[in-house]
């Protein structure tokens, strides 16, 4: 055995626990999802092969509507997170007194148990007694209580806002790190040439953080597409399906109605979309890393 062979063997020995674990708890269930999606698996014991019946049934229902809703929901949530997070990162980068404290204060939504943050929002959205409806009434914007989660239109945006709230700390800290990794001499050179603060931002900061923005958007897209806890705790996909995204739909069919086969078909659709996102993600990453070496 050569030295490099023994090194490879050692590397795989080190990797073995992780590989075996992921194979058992992620890869095998993933394969099983594909398999189940072609069966009529349910609570009963017998499982029959049904071909594409689950998929046909799914698309005969309101599934197309669910897909569109999921994309709209995800699009707005990711956009808000990116815009708010990047703006906040720029502000947090300014060297003003107290910046360290402000940076720490950004993080709590990300640190605390998600369910707890969501409960707090659930109360704030309460129409009769919650803060948002209450304050808006006190300052005269609303003339009567508005229960945000009781109507489809408002519930849709309410769940997005809570999702933004939970996701924005990560985006902010990541973008802040990206801004701080820009070499300082660039700014100093521009400053010496008399470039103003806004000009420096537009011509140095923005182009330099673009790769990080793309990366973060993609990561955020994947996480947001998978968002379950927020919608489930706030609305359970209601009212009247107005916040039923693909994940919620899958959960309701599979776990709520015990239709494992039909639920698996929905999960497969989610996997397909996620794979497409990932494909584009790696394409974009490759383009940027090639751009760096050129």
């Amino acid at each position: 055995m050569t030295r490099s062979q023994s090194a490879t063997l050692f590397a795989f020995a080190l990797l073995a626990p992780a590989l075996i674990y992921i194979a058992a708890i992620v890869a095998y269930p993933l394969a099983d999802t594909f398999h189940l999606s072609f069966t009529d698996a349910a609570l009963k014991k017998a499982v029959n092969w049904v071909g594409f019946a689950n998929y046909q049934k799914m698309f005969r229902g309101n599934f197309a509507e669910v897909i569109v809703r999921t994309f709209v929901w995800t699009f707005f949530s990711v956009s808000f997170k990116m815009v708010i997070g990047t703006c906040a990162a720029v502000l947090l980068n300014a060297s003003v007194p107290g910046k360290t404290l402000f940076r720490v204060l950004t993080l709590p939504p990300w640190i605390v148990p998600m369910a707890i943050g969501i409960f707090m929002w659930g109360w704030m959205y309460n129409g009769q007694f919650g803060m948002i409806s209450g304050v808006l009434q006190n300052i005269g914007i609303l003339d009567r209580p508005l229960p945000w989660l009781a109507f489809g239109g408002t519930a849709f945006w309410a769940t997005i806002i809570t999702d933004v709230w939970i996701g924005v700390p990560m985006v902010t800290i990541y973008m802040l790190a990206a801004i701080q990794s820009i070499p300082r001499d660039l700014y100093e050179a521009a400053w010496t040439d008399g470039a103003g603060r806004f000009y420096r931002f537009r011509r140095i900061t923005l182009p330099m953080i673009r790769p990080s923005m793309v990366t973060m958007s993609m990561l955020s897209l994947i996480a947001t597409f998978n968002s379950f806890d927020i919608i489930w705790i706030l609305t359970q996909g209601g009212p009247n399906g107005a916040t039923t995204t693909m994940i919620i739909d899958t959960y309701k069919v599979a776990i709520g109605s015990y239709k494992y086969g039909e639920g698996a078909a929905r999960a497969v659709m989610i996997c397909i979309f996620l794979s497409v996102f990932c494909f584009f993600y790696f394409k974009v990453i490759n383009r940027f890393s090639r751009g760096e070496t050129r």
């Binding site: 490879t8 708890i25 993933l30 999802t33 959960y251």
Partner: protein, 285 residues
């Protein structure tokens, strides 16, 4: 630095703009906590009264005492949450340390795609794999045990752990290991006696990040794979405050703050390392 360089000086309206912007942003971030805390101080009958009043007029910490009687298992839920997160963290660290070392130091065929595969795990949330995981847990007889929440929880925290620690290990100079090898030390001995001590700060960051992640994200598996109250983590146990007729909001919020406390303590003491470690792993690829 005693004096601020010229380039970092702001005019008064720039400073004002920065502070105003941060005020708006931090209000959004912190409003739920402020409101939640005030709710925990208000008596229930005041909570359910119009018009809305922001400030609690006869606020008290009563809810923080009555909640333990109203939901006797509350303490158990918090302990469960801590227990589940601790076990997840230990298992993740044990699995991640050798894997990250393999990715950081050995250039074997297929190491790139393999790392990509691990990261792809992050793509699939637990919700997508819920049905087969449920069947798997049932087959293994793990439903309604702590393991039903620990076993899948570990899987989804491994990839980020590998990524963070690999980045950290890449920055450790190789010379020490090479010196150990030259002295005839075995690979495993080198890993244990040379690499691990140097990588300890990175391992600590991974452990904190994992613990916080495990503590924050225990909902869907607990909701689906466990129905026994005595094993419930706080995220699911809090539903005990949802009564048939009304939600006991002040106690729910008080219990939430009790549940936030442990992770806040961890965070306040260690946030410096956590933020530095995570952003280093994120940006320098």
């Amino acid at each position: 630095m005693s004096e601020r360089p010229m380039i970092d000086r702001y005019t008064w309206y720039e400073t004002l703009g920065v502070y105003l912007g941060l005020l708006v942003f931090l209000s959004f971030v912190l409003a739920p906590f402020v409101e939640g805390f005030l709710v925990s101080l208000k008596p229930l009958e005041h909570l359910f009264s119009s018009p809305y009043r922001f400030w609690p007029e006869d606020g008290s910490f009563d809810a923080y005492f009555t909640m333990w009687e109203h939901v006797p298992l509350l303490g158990r839920y918090i302990v469960n949450s801590l227990f589940i997160s601790t076990v997840i963290t230990i298992v993740v660290v044990i699995i991640v340390v050798p894997a990250a070392y393999a990715f950081a130091r050995f250039e074997f065929r297929g190491s790139g795609p393999l790392l990509g595969m691990f990261l792809a795990v992050n793509m699939f949330s637990g919700a997508v794999l819920l049905i087969p995981l449920y069947r798997l847990m049932r087959t293994l007889g793990l439903l309604n045990t702590y393991f039903a929440m620990i076993v899948p929880g570990v899987a989804f925290l491994i990839p980020t752990g590998i990524w963070l620690l690999r980045t950290y290990m890449l920055r450790i100079p190789r010379e020490l290991e090479e010196a150990a090898w030259a002295d005839g030390a075995g690979r495993l001995y080198t890993l244990r006696r040379v690499v691990l001590p140097i990588a300890l700060p990175g391992i600590v960051v991974v452990a904190i990040a994992t613990f916080i992640g495990a503590y924050a994200q225990q909902f869907i598996f607990a909701l689906t794979f466990n129905s026994k109250s005595e094993y419930m983590p706080l995220a699911v146990g809090l539903f005990s405050f949802f009564g048939k007729e009304r939600v006991v909001w002040n106690e729910l919020m008080a219990a939430s703050f009790a549940g936030i406390l442990p992770v806040m303590i961890v965070f306040v003491f260690l946030q410096r390392y956590l933020v530095a470690g995570i952003t280093a792993g994120a940006v320098k690829q």
